[in-house]
């Protein structure tokens, strides 16, 4: 042996003066089944030299003689071997029983999944890779039971609709609390450019999904009560990647390129059809046949229908949009220092011109052991984003509106070549070419911590965090678009939200006999400050001078507000014989937003679990590998809807007259104002059978939110319209089932699968009075009904003799506003996902389905484009051609008329007919990915540790009865209490992408 080594050393020293290393190789297998372990980290101890095993478990490493190799793999005990051992150095790793217990991140700590009494869902980095979405919340779609995620529109970086176990609140916000590496991050959209009613940005796009190690969604009160007055909407804990101790440096390069397009585009009638409809309308409304508008030009008409040209504007709106992503990350660590450093660039175009989104991100996560008791570290992320913001949706000056609504026989350009505009719509080409709305964001989310082991079982941790979020917008509208009339308009605004956070926790963890005790005590001090500054300029000397300095008139304003939050919290868990688990938590929140007589809120919770599967009588049945019964109850709060000074009696400045400062009463004091309070109980059962090959997780929850923050109408004779009060109540009840299957574990083909399905029943329990929301009051909030309920006239049929629409007449007194009724809602009966991963050799295939059943969608595009002639500046959908024309016609589309008494398209009904309310159920193949990992033997030649290539498709297939472009739509995301409202919205793109992940 020594001879061989000597020979090798001699050989090497002969080649280079300094290289005295030996090349070592071997294979790493699992002790359990002797299967290969790919991805095991191998490090030459005391150096940074290292490698990882390939798919077959094989490795190759150069090491100096006499060195020690350290083998590390998550879930296994690490092993050290001398490099002098006999070649090949084959290693078998033993599972680490402690680590094999699935550890999940919970509020202020980690916990073995076995001992969880509440309800939470974990999503790993693996499950969300390869989805071309810029934000982590979007990736949760279909991955976690009870978490409903839908995109509001297909605009990249735009808002997301996310609800954990239904909607609790009417006014106070329903987004979950996001905690990234212990920092409560601000989730307020800062973009102020008006976009119709769409939320322009999703602040979570500031987090690069590739940096994420895991996402935990805490759902029940026992899991969230530790977050007190902010926990009611659920908590999403995002943990980012960190370096592993004693692992070799690993550099990963990850890129993908995507191409997206609209699977379906709008369709409108051609010029001839439009003219025929208009002529018919004219005759229907009693016009003289000789005077029909589209008749021979010679007799003063606008030309016969056959002579009408058709201008296709729709195709001008869409494009094949590109997505590019590049990331470089390095991670590793020795026994003192661990690091993860990642940088990324992401760019995504919208499939509707001209929006796009760009992100530069950098993350540095460091942990340093200073003494055996003291550790410090940081998690720091810097992000720069850029958006070309363009309006769509509920806005006549929106891009889709400008292309979809103008009549198809009207030319795009005037005879002199200038842009032609009709009605209050912009010219679509002018808009696409001239929209100039820049939003540039800078974000720092950083946390610095120190942790000190006072005693082996007692640790004090202190952390200091900042979430700094800046959005700088510069918009210029030149005279070619409506927003720039008559002589140009520009705005420049800076919005800044800063959260400062200091937190101490004291953790006690001890095993006493068969008891396992964990106690955490802590406090948090948080301060939020917001600043807003806006400048605007009107009247520019030319379209090429864009900055406000060039404008003739300038106005500006600025605002600032502060809020403080002081909290105490604690939780304790006790486990006896690993079978009986009880835990409890408590938080006290003092908030400056609350009224003076209600400053502190208290939020307790308790949970119990019984792992019946550990009892002998269950073990004897020999069916269950796991059988756990869980129950929890607790109280959480929501203070998101209380503005900083909502409880105070205030006068406001800015009520100026003659350019002199004026003040006026703003709001009446409400000293009792407090958080919304949600009481939630949860019962659940976990079942594992067939050697845990099938795992069932079933939960039932019941939530009752009271003290709902409502602007309760007050007598207006007092000079105020409303007062913010804790008044209403909403309930949510639901059932969630997750089935996880490791269906094929041995053999060359491996298949893991996860299916989840959830229902939620939402109900408004108490309101001051019914009120409407959204454009045209389409949503009605009413006691006893769910939120997002559509309020419309119910069309029964179109009379085959008269051609007039017949609506349900509840009072039998003709159609009045009293006949407008709740006709459905935007809640799915159930929703869920089905996620599959298959591996065969070096190939991997993942496929994710997402489905929603039973939600209704109000299709406003049809509302506007099937208008029967009432909209003089708007064209028609081909559906209008199906109108009633002569007695005997059977159709749902009434005859064309502007006569309001017919109620066909106007009159009392104002076209707010169930005709346009559709079933929005859908099932879609969210993503499908085929990957191939190249064999290590091939790679070692190029000094590469790993290389995976893949192709992936997003939204390749959707089945839906919905007639619009896409059933995943929410055009009025900026308007509270609305959902599933489709109005000139960018559809979800269909994307094909190809990518590779390269490891060095």
């Amino acid at each position: 042996m020594q001879k061989i080594l000597l020979t090798v050393i001699l050989l090497y020293s002969g080649l280079t003066a300094y290289a005295q290393n030996v090349t070592l190789q071997g294979r790493v297998t699992s002790h359990e089944d002797n299967g290969p372990l790919p991805g095991v980290s191998i490090l030459v101890k005391g150096t940074t030299t290292g490698t990882t095993t390939d798919a077959d478990g094989r490795y190759r490493i150069d090491a100096p003689p006499g060195a020690t190799l350290v083998f590390n793999f998550i879930g296994f005990q690490s092993q050290e071997v001398s490099s002098d051992a006999t070649q090949p150095i084959n290693i078998t790793l033993r599972p680490d029983s402690r680590q094999l217990q699935e550890i999940v991140v919970v509020g202020y700590g980690e916990q073995s999944r076995k001992t969880i009494t509440g309800s939470l869902a974990s999503v790993s980095a693996e499950a969300i890779r390869n989805i071309p979405a810029p934000s982590p919340d979007q990736l949760l779609q279909g991955k976690a039971a009870g978490v409903q995620v839908t995109a509001n529109s297909g605009v990249p970086g735009g808002g997301i609709f996310i609800r954990v176990r239904g909607t609790n609140s009417v006014n106070a916000g329903n987004d979950p609390l996001y905690v990234v590496d212990g920092v409560f991050i601000n989730n307020t959209n800062l973009i102020r450019t008006g976009l119709g009613n769409q939320t322009p940005s999703n602040p979570l796009t500031d987090i690069n999904p590739s940096d994420i190690e895991s996402i935990e969604v805490l759902k029940d009160a026992n899991a969230t009560a530790i977050y007190g007055s902010r926990g009611a909407n659920g908590v999403v804990i995002i943990t980012t990647k960190r370096g592993q101790a004693n692992t070799a440096a690993r550099i990963n390069f990850n890129t993908y390129q995507g191409w997206s397009w609209a699977p379906k585009k709008f369709d409108v009638v051609n010029g001839q059809q439009l003219a025929e409809l208009e002529n018919e309308l004219f005759l229907n409304d009693g016009g003289a046949p000789a005077q029909i508008p589209y008749r021979d030009r010679a007799v003063g008409g606008a030309g016969t229908p056959q002579e009408q040209p058709t201008y296709n504007r729709i195709d001008d709106l869409f494009r094949t949009a590109r997505t590019s992503s590049y990331e470089l990350a390095a991670s590793g660590g020795n026994d003192k220092t661990r690091y993860y450093i990642g940088g990324g660039y992401f760019k995504q175009e919208s499939i509707v011109k001209p929006s796009e989104f760009e992100r530069y991100s950098l993350r540095i996560n460091l942990d340093q052991t200073i003494t055996d008791k003291l550790q410090i570290g940081t998690s720091t992320a810097l992000t720069h984003t850029w958006r070309n913001v363009s309006s769509n949706d509920n806005n006549p000056a929106g891009v889709i509106n400008s292309g979809l609504f103008p009549r198809s026989n009207l030319p795009v350009y005037n005879e002199d070549g200038t842009f032609a505009k009709y009605g209050n719509f912009d010219n679509h080409i002018a808009l696409i070419e001239n929209l100039n709305n820049d939003a540039s964001g800078n974000r720092v989310i950083s946390n610095l911590y120190g942790s000190y082991d006072i005693l082996p079982e007692l640790t004090l941790r202190s952390s200091w965090s900042i979430d700094f979020n800046d959005m700088y917008e510069n918009n210029y509208s030149n005279t070619l678009i409506l927003a720039g009339q008559p002589r140009g308009a520009a705005t420049s605004s800076l919005s800044r939200d800063v959260t400062l956070l200091n937190e101490q926790t004291l953790t006690y963890h001890k095993t006493l006999g068969q008891f396992n005790v964990q106690v955490i005590l802590g406090n948090t001090i948080q301060k939020n400050t917001i600043w807003r500054t806006q400048l605007s300029g009107l009247q520019f000397p030319s379209n090429s001078l864009e900055t406000i300095a060039s404008s003739a008139t300038q106005t500006g304003s600025s605002q600032k507000a502060e809020a403080g939050l002081l909290s105490w919290f604690g939780k304790a868990g006790l486990t006896f014989r690993d079978k009986y688990i009880v835990d409890a938590s408590f938080r006290a929140d003092g908030s400056s937003r609350f009224g003076a007589s209600n400053r502190w809120g208290y939020f307790p919770s308790v949970g119990v679990a019984w792992r019946a599967g550990e009892e002998d009588f269950v073990k004897n049945v020999d069916v269950f590998d796991e059988l756990k019964l869980r129950a929890s109850i607790g109280i959480t709060g929501n203070q998101a809807g209380i503005s900083e000074y909502a409880s105070q009696g205030l006068w406001e400045g800015g009520n100026n007259y003659l350019d002199q400062p004026g003040t006026a009463p703003l709001q009446i004091r409400n000293a009792n104002l407090s958080w919304e309070e949600t009481r939630q109980w949860n019962v659940g059962i976990d079942i594992g059978v067939l050697q845990n090959r099938l795992i069932f997780d079933l939960n039932y929850y019941d939530k009752y939110t009271s003290g709902l923050l409502l602007n309760v109408p007050v007598p207006r004779k007092l000079g105020y319209a409303s007062q913010l009060q804790n008044y209403g109540a909403v309930s949510n009840k639901g059932l969630e089932l997750t089935i996880t299957g490791n269906i094929l574990q041995s053999g060359p083909l491996k298949w893991t699968s996860s299916f989840n399905i959830s229902t939620n029943k939402n109900r408004i329990e108490k309101l001051a009075s019914s009120f409407t929301s959204g454009s045209r009051d389409i949503f009605l909030l009413k006691e006893g009904e769910p939120l997002y309920a559509f309020w419309l006239y119910k069309q029964r049929y179109v009379d085959t003799q008269t051609g007039d629409a017949v609506y349900e007449d509840l009072g039998g007194d003709g159609i009045t506003v009293a006949d407008r009724q709740i006709v459905g809602d935007a809640w799915p009966d159930f929703f869920g996902g089905f996620n599959n991963t298959l591996r065969y050799g070096n190939f991997d295939l993942t496929a994710s389905l997402y489905f929603e059943q039973g939600a209704k969608i109000m299709n406003m595009n049809r509302f506007f484009l099937v208008h029967g002639g009432t909209q003089r500046n708007i064209g028609y959908y081909p559906e209008q051609l199906e109108r009633w024309q002569k007695p005997g016609d059977v159709t749902d589309i009434p005859r064309l008329t502007r006569v309001s008494s017919s109620n066909n398209y106007g009159g009392t009904v104002q076209n707010l007919s169930t005709r346009y309310l559709e079933d929005g159920s859908f099932i879609r193949l969210r993503t499908v990915t085929l990957g191939y990992t190249l064999p290590a033997t091939l790679l070692s030649r190029y000094r590469l540790a790993s290389l995976r290539v893949y192709v992936s498709g997003t939204n390749l297939w959707t089945a839906t009865p919905y007639s619009g472009l896409d059933p995943e739509v929410n055009s009025q995301s900026g308007v509270a209490n609305t959902k599933n409202f489709d109005w000139a919205t960018v559809p979800q793109p269909r994307t094909i992408q190809a990518g590779l992940t390269l490891g060095f």
């Binding site: 900083e644 004026g662 007092l718 009075s769």
Partner: protein, 451 residues
């Protein structure tokens, strides 16, 4: 070891106690209500805030309610609330109705604060005369508010104390129309006492109070008083004259000698009513349009005269859009809200005189004064009924896009004859649905004909 636990707990408590003022935050751009009016500066700011509230309802909503239900203006848009106004088919939940009602009461509450608090302000620099003037302006704005409520809705709840808490208005039910007008009169008397005699046109002065009082008496058919107060204003020829050409009063820099009271706007404090009138080629929405009938009328040289400058037209391709240009400051957005002009005072006096036998000739003189300013020939009528009809027609064109036509036809009970609205219950606006719901004092007190 026990001491280590103690130390750890002490560390927790220490950090939290270090920031006791975290929970007592003070706003940056708002004032606590107790400190809103404490010295001269804040008293004047509160008064300007009351004007600002009046701007809020006069920049669009109130003029819309004054012209859109009648025959000169039509709505061409999709918003239901405007269609309802245009078609005289209001429902109690109409948001224009609700907003206007709310904005007027906000103005009244702002004025109530000034009236209640300013006399007791302790500020040596704030003289008694100055205090009188400030409260006088507040009395005027409150009078304007209640007058505008009364002519739209009939009798309304009369609140004359500032609101401090929700229980303050308890028990205040609707007054009768007469009681509401009595409150207007009382406020105008207080205002006239306190206001200066100057000819400021965008702040309340004595003559503004007199002119509004003349209008009040006209609405109450108190002809002699209407004539008296109109004459007091007209007699002030140094300060007020009819301007020529007609369009002078709505041409920048505004504040023409014809203006008795207008609310000024500025680029920093915009009036965007032009946007509703201007066609899209000019950057507007074109939702408010002159009717074909009005276009014909105003272009008729014997009827409209120089007032045809109220409309303009723009041609793109082969389409011509005719639009109203009373509100024309599309770039500066500083069109005033026109509230009382001298032409109105002449026509008030004409109408008041026509109702008093023997004063027909004087009535005709007043009418012809307005006509000749518009470059029209004098009318030669003798029968009071004919003169009254001529005044009605004159007012229709003269104030076409201001808050008059609808209220004129309602007060003269001519809304049926002219507009064909037979159901007199529709001559009053509904009390906002939200108000009926929120105020127990108004339960079952909706105007007849509305739910």
């Amino acid at each position: 070891m026990k001491s280590r636990y103690t130390t750890a707990l002490a560390a927790l408590i220490f950090t939290a106690s270090a920031c006791s003022d975290l929970l007592d935050t003070e706003p940056y751009q708002q004032l606590a209500d107790g400190t809103a009016i404490i010295d001269e500066g804040s008293a004047r700011a509160a008064l300007l805030g009351a004007y600002s509230n009046a701007q809020a309802y006069y920049s669009l909503n109130y003029p819309v309610l004054g012209y859109l239900p009648a025959d000169n203006v039509q709505f061409n848009g999709t918003l239901n609330q405007y269609l309802q106004v245009d078609q005289n088919a209001l429902t109690a939940d109409n948001v224009i109705i609700t907003d206007t009602w709310t904005q007027i009461y906000k103005t009244i509450n702002a004025a109530n604060n000034v009236i209640a608090l300013v006399p007791d302000v302790l500020d040596p620099a704030f003289t008694a005369t100055e205090k009188e003037q400030v409260t006088g302006e507040a009395y005027f704005l409150r009078a304007l508010g209640y007058f505008d409520l009364a002519r739209g809705w009939g009798g309304v709840p009369v609140v004359t104390q500032p609101t401090r808490q929700l229980t303050d208005g308890l028990g205040i039910k609707r007054s009768t129309l007469d009681q509401t007008y009595d409150q207007v009169l009382a406020d105008l008397i207080e205002a006239e006492k306190r206001l200066p005699e100057t000819a400021t046109r965008n702040r309340a002065v004595k003559n503004a109070a007199r002119a509004l009082r003349a209008r009040l008496h006209l609405y109450r058919e108190q002809w002699t008083e209407a004539e008296t107060y109109a004459s007091e204003v007209i007699g002030n020829t140094a300060a007020y004259t009819l301007v020529k050409p007609y369009k002078t009063f709505f041409t920048a820099p505004f504040l023409s000698p014809e203006s008795i009271f207008e609310l000024s706007f500025s680029t920093a404090d915009q009036n965007n009513q032009w946007n509703n009138w201007y066609p899209s080629q000019l950057g507007g929405q074109y939702t408010l349009q002159p009717t074909i009938g009005f276009i014909t009328l105003v272009n008729d040289a014997s009827r409209g005269g120089s007032r045809k400058t109220l409309i303009g037209s723009v041609t793109t391709g082969n389409a011509t859009a005719v639009y109203g240009i009373l509100y024309n400051r599309d770039a500066q957005r500083d069109d005033p809200a026109y509230i009382i002009r001298l032409a109105e005072v002449y026509l008030i006096r004409a109408e008041a005189r026509a109702h008093q036998s023997g004063k027909e000739a004087d009535a005709l003189d007043d009418l012809n004064a307005v006509r000749s300013r518009a470059d029209l020939t004098n009318l030669n009528l003798t029968a009071p009924a004919d003169i009254l009809l001529a005044i009605e027609a004159e007012r229709s064109i003269e104030f076409a896009f201001e808050a008059h036509r609808w209220f004129d036809l309602v007060r003269t009970k001519r809304a049926d004859d002219v507009l064909g609205i037979e159901d007199e219950r529709k001559w009053l606006f509904p009390i906002p649905f939200a108000e009926i719901n929120a105020d127990p004092d108004l339960a079952n007190d909706q105007n007849p004909g509305y739910l």
